[in-house]
Symmetry: C2
Subunit: 122 residues, 2 copies
């Protein structure tokens, strides 16, 4: 027997919360955070001027609206929103995503407002 830490199981972690649009931190890598979130409906248009943002769909379907089009992501698909590119996530059905970005990145980016929320540890 050892005290080796267990792996992080995405399904198990997703079963631990149900609130929408609330990022849950599941791992750190250097000064970046790996987070999960459940989405349904439309978020707010915003931009991260200082960082790229990676999103990968675990279940459901995510549409990333961009000003010049949109990217649709299903399970096992990822997309990196480049820094400075305005975007607005929307999910018609409840959708679970994995996010990766530097610690301290605000979910609403430059837009701020009432839907701003710091990530919570799971």
């Amino acid at each position: 027997m050892t005290n080796t830490p267990a792996p992080v199981n995405l399904t198990d972690k997703l079963a631990q919360f149900s609130d929408l649009w609330s990022q849950k931190k599941i791992a750190d890598i250097n000064d970046y955070e790996v987070k999960l979130a459940k989405l349904k409906g439309e978020f707010v248009w915003h931009t991260h001027d200082e960082t790229d943002e990676l999103m990968m769909v675990v279940s459901g379907r995510l549409i990333l609206q961009l000003r010049d089009g949109e990217v649709e992501l299903g399970p096992g698909e990822l997309y990196v929103v480049p820094r400075g590119v305005e975007h607005c996530p929307v999910a018609e059905e409840e959708t679970a995503i994995l996010l990766l970005e530097p610690a301290g990145t605000l979910n609403t980016g430059d837009a701020g407002g009432p839907r701003s929320k710091a990530p919570e540890a799971l």
Copy 2:
């Protein structure tokens, strides 16, 4: 119609190569790289003194041997090997993983040797 880039589909990308222990870059996020690799057998013991390393299993089963135990990962499970922690990946069956680490991180870390290989773009 737009020229919006397509998402990165992990299954599609994995179908594009078959060589083992060869990292394929599928995305950049800031100065980090997202890579895929197919593993079978045992790698070399090595350490990354400068960075943590994230691995997530897409298919198959990965055992991360550590000096004080091991971590076993199945599909949808991830683990971050902390910087400075010696490790040796082993996969009994062919296993596909996603890796995340800073650009320039050598696959064999401090160990170097004949299995060192820079990532290739897919």
